[in-house]
């Protein structure tokens, strides 16, 4: 059997493509549960804000806190899937630690923006915090895969429409379309 240089180059390109596809799918599957959890956080907190505004003060910290706790548990569970001591396990731990640090930086950024911009209403604050994430997903999607970009785009459009044209129903709009798009997106990533 003889292999030409062109065939060898083509074969190596096919290998790279197949590996990239697997890494992208693994990324989707790792990310999916986080999207679903935060979709529910968004859905619950916004729905409570719309229908029971008296509870708005505590539902946000409570649901965001629960979201963080569940995310940490999922992250730990995912990092334990790889056999301890293997290269994969070391990589998972590094990725987990960096994801945690990235989340910290993102939260600090949002807190700073809120502090500087001083939103004049709850809707403005809600939109300001919420719009940050879909744009992050879009930016990450450019590198990690088009599905992530699509989830970010749909969510961003939902937030913009809600803020400018659906102000009377803003909270429930954000819950259903913002939270719903994250839940649907998570399920979509899972099936990739």
């Amino acid at each position: 059997m003889t292999v030409t240089r062109e065939e060898a180059a083509q074969a190596l390109a096919d290998i790279d493509k197949a590996s990239d596809r697997v890494y992208r799918l693994k990324g989707y599957h790792h990310g999916a549960p986080f999207f679903i959890v935060w979709g529910f956080v968004w859905l619950i907190a916004n729905s409570v804000s719309q229908f029971w505004p008296d509870y708005q003060r505590w539902i946000w910290p409570a649901s965001v806190g629960a979201g963080f706790l569940i995310s940490i548990v999922i992250g730990i569970a995912q990092s334990r899937k790889a056999q301890p001591g293997t290269r994969q396990s070391v990589m998972d731990q590094r990725v987990g630690a960096r994801m945690g640090m990235t989340s910290g930086v993102m939260m600090a950024f949002i807190a700073t923006i809120i502090l500087i911009a001083q939103p004049s209403s709850a809707d403005e604050g809600n939109a300001m915090v919420s719009i940050f994430f879909p744009f992050m997903y879009m930016a990450a999607g450019i590198w990690a895969g088009w599905r992530l970009f699509a989830i970010g785009l749909v969510t961003a459009i939902a937030i913009i429409i809600g803020y400018f044209w659906m102000r009377d129903y803003f909270d429930i709009w954000m819950g259903v379309f913002g939270g719903g798009s994250l839940i649907a997106g998570g399920i979509w990533l899972r099936t990739a």
Partner: protein
């Protein structure tokens, strides 16, 4: 320089091996997902999996999830080594001009 691995070199089998090699050692992939990654038909995927299994390069596990049959495929140690050898043959060929 060692020669090419004739079993792995075929295009679909090469992509199967590359896909399974990208998974952590010991991790398997469901038949349906593999088929979708390869954008291949059931028959084509099954034929090439059978050739790789016959060579001892992959392990095929069949079980049931509830009442639904499930087929999972993973690269064996022999398969991983054969794949790595084949990749280095291809690289040598390109770099060395062989």
């Amino acid at each position: 320089m060692e020669g090419p691995d004739e079993i792995i070199h075929q295009s679909t089998r090469l992509r199967i091996a590359a896909t399974l090699n990208a998974l952590p050692s010991g991790e398997s992939l469901e038949f349906g997902r593999l088929k979708s990654i390869l954008s291949a038909t059931d028959g084509n995927t099954a034929t090439h999996l059978a050739a790789l299994e016959k060579a001892g390069y992959i392990a095929v596990e069949k079980d049931f999830v509830g009442k639904k049959p499930r087929t999972r495929v993973s690269l064996t140690r022999l398969g991983r080594k054969a794949f790595e050898r084949h990749v280095s043959y291809l690289r040598d060929l390109l770099e060395g001009g062989g």
